[in-house]
């Protein structure tokens, strides 16, 4: 949109060269840019701007939107469910880090040392990522059956533990959901780390080896520092993604039991598509996005100092 506008203003200021602009392919350039401008204008830039505008408006599908100031934000911030949902979302992100950060890293550093069989391990590790999330959740929902004959309860029964209520228990429901998500997404992190590990400089290993450093110390002091950039970015991206989690809690529990798995995105969904309150939904979206923005900015300042 803006690009189109600036293009016309350029042609206006240099009216004399308009003809040469056309013959030199100016029209073709615009024509090639049209799909991008159309798609991004309507489905990316437009909605982002709208989202911010709508958060200070009262929007419904019948009347014209009306400016209401901060009242959407006031409504959202005083919603008694908000502290619970925010805490759940942070808890989810925290658990996802605890479960999902060390395992892919260990697996990838190990797989980087494999010769010949690396493809087999990669394919296996990536397999769950290919399973559509809905299928994975429905399958795991059965695994988490609270009956003593449920799949996980049977396995734990072999070592004398359980049976657990899993998704019906307010205490276990979040770890249970995170465990499934880790299963579903960890493979893609493994592959990303593995790609980063192939770029590690090899000659440093030789030097360390001459100095008598063992395999573990070589990994700790040479491999890890070299992929620190990727690790730090993946850490942040993971937090940003997990704080916008929707499908898993939505299909597993719909937010239950007793809102123990209601996340911020579930609240946004309920505001918008159950209550029809688009103002509140966009206000909460903007708050969440602003939080994630501040988090990323702070994170980059902190890690830059670290480097």
């Amino acid at each position: 949109m803006t690009a189109e506008a600036s293009a016309t203003s350029i042609s206006r200021t240099r009216r004399r060269s308009f003809r040469s602009w056309v013959t030199s392919g100016g029209v073709t350039k615009i024509a090639f840019a049209l799909p991008l401008l159309f798609i991004f204008g309507y489905f990316s830039w437009g909605p982002i701007v709208d989202g911010i505008v709508m958060s200070v408006q009262n929007t419904n599908l019948v009347d014209d939107p009306e400016f209401v100031g901060w009242s959407n934000f006031e409504y959202v911030l005083t919603d008694p469910l908000l502290p619970k949902a925010a805490a759940n979302t942070l808890y989810y992100a925290f658990l996802a880090l605890v479960f999902g950060f060390p395992v892919p890293l260990l697996l990838a550093t190990f797989m980087a040392e494999l010769r010949g069989t690396r493809r087999l391990y990669s394919v296996l590790a990536y397999l769950p990522v290919i399973v559509p999330p809905v299928v994975a959740v429905l399958l795991w929902k059965f695994f988490y059956s609270p009956e003593p004959t449920g799949l996980f309860n049977t396995v734990l029964g072999w070592i004398g533990a359980g049976p657990f209520a899993w998704l019906n228990s307010a205490d276990i429901v979040m770890p249970a959901i995170v465990l499934e998500s880790t299963w579903a997404y960890a493979g893609s992190t493994v592959i990303i780390y593995l790609a980063a590990l192939t770029a590690v400089q090899r000659d440093l290993y030789e030097a360390a080896e001459l100095d008598g450093a063992g395999i573990i110390r070589r990994t700790w002091h040479i491999t890890l520092p070299q992929i620190r950039g990727v690790l730090l970015i993946m850490l942040l991206l993971q937090v940003i993604n997990t704080m916008q989690v929707f499908t898993e809690p939505f299909i597993f529990t719909g937010g239950g039991p007793n809102n123990a798995s209601t996340t911020l995105l579930l609240m946004i969904y309920n505001y918008a598509f159950i209550d029809g309150d688009f103002g509140a939904a966009t206000a909460l979206s903007v708050l969440l996005a602003a939080f994630l923005g501040l988090l990323s900015a702070g994170y980059f300042v902190a890690t830059r100092r670290l480097n």
């Binding site: 600036s6 709208d50 550093t109 559509p132 299928v135 290993y205 996005a289």
Partner: protein
């Protein structure tokens, strides 16, 4: 808001293009058995202690991966040919009980109409792929090759969307689909509502642009001297040379469109248009357990087969991109 603080993820993330670009691929990688050393050196590998430990760990990790990654899928197959009774009472009963109900798949196909939903998914996936390829190639061509004066602005505007969490645009995007401002088009309950928004992927546009950047400019120069215009250059030089990256883009789009749940749930309310992801949770509670398991199994066969056939491309694409596409 993050653009100023961070410029690093882009080179990291767009390395897919570099990796897939023909000039960047070192020919020596093709040679067999020319392994680069890792933390473990060749000398270490000759020591018996290291060899034993490495062997034990390899076996343990492989066993772990088989159980954790493959296990649930094998169990799903087993459940989809069992009776509901058996799945519930004894989930680990192996096929010894003599049950092998292949008819579960037939029932899932006819009664649950899994075939129809798969067809809808195919529509969603193909359309998203075409729309994405069109946007990425033309957009990448403008940003990388044609380079108009406003190109920097455009590429900044595309880049900026990478740093804004998707959630901001969810509700407004839904309203846009209900009625597109200016045109009055109503996309709700049509496949356009899934295809067009799926094409707005800044990440894929930038990947393709990166790839185009690596095509030697001499080729364009030569074509121009031969009298080829920009359209001709696009179709006979740029597109044929960029087959590898178009493959990566297609795969990533297909997988993410196949996995998508929330968006098609919102914009495709009629059951006869819904893709399988949206349909499965709805029908799950209304059908017997074994038929549900058979339906789930039918839903993963195609993606798993595609993955096994195109492992290399999948893993290459994932190695550099999974971060953004999720």
């Amino acid at each position: 808001m993050l653009i100023q603080t961070d410029s690093r993820p882009i080179p990291e993330v767009t390395r897919a293009a570099d990796a897939a670009a023909p000039p960047a691929r070192p020919p020596r990688r093709r040679e067999p058995r020319a392994y680069e050393r890792g933390a473990i050196s060749d000398m270490d590998r000759k020591r018996p202690g290291v060899r034993i430990w490495l062997g034990i760990w390899q076996a343990l990790v492989l066993a772990g991966l088989l159980v954790v990654a493959l296990g649930p899928l094998l169990w799903l197959f087993k459940a989809s040919v069992s009776s509901s009774q058996e799945i519930l009472m004894d989930p680990f009963a192996m096929l010894v009980s003599g049950e092998f109900q292949v008819e579960n798949f037939v029932r899932a196909w006819t009664e649950v109409r899994i075939g129809d939903y798969l067809l809808n998914t195919a529509w969603v996936v193909i359309g998203s792929c075409v729309a994405t390829l069109l946007t990425c190639t033309t957009g990448g061509y403008v940003l990388s090759v044609l380079r108009p004066k406003w190109g920097a602005l455009l590429s900044g505007a595309v880049l900026a969307t990478l740093f804004i969490p998707n959630i901001v645009s969810l509700v407004p995007l839904y309203l846009t689909v209900i009625e597109m401002p200016g045109t009055g088009w109503r996309l709700l309950d049509t496949y356009w509502a899934v295809w067009l928004p799926n094409a707005a992927s800044a990440f894929l546009v930038l990947i393709v642009k990166r790839f185009f950047d690596q095509i030697p400019p001499d080729l364009y120069e030569a074509a121009r001297i031969d009298g080829a215009g920009p359209v001709r250059v696009f179709f006979s030089i740029v597109l044929p040379l960029s087959r590898p990256i178009l493959g990566v883009v297609s795969l990533l789009t297909i997988i993410s469109a196949w996995k998508d749940y929330l968006w098609p749930l919102l914009v495709l309310p009629s059951a006869d248009k819904q893709p399988i992801s949206v349909a499965l949770p709805k029908v799950a509670d209304t059908i017997p357990l074994n038929i549900q398991m058979a339906s789930l199994f039918l839903a993963i066969i195609i993606p798993i087969t595609l993955f096994l056939l195109f492992q290399k491309q999948f893993l290459e694409g994932a190695g550099t991109s999974g971060a953004v596409k999720g």
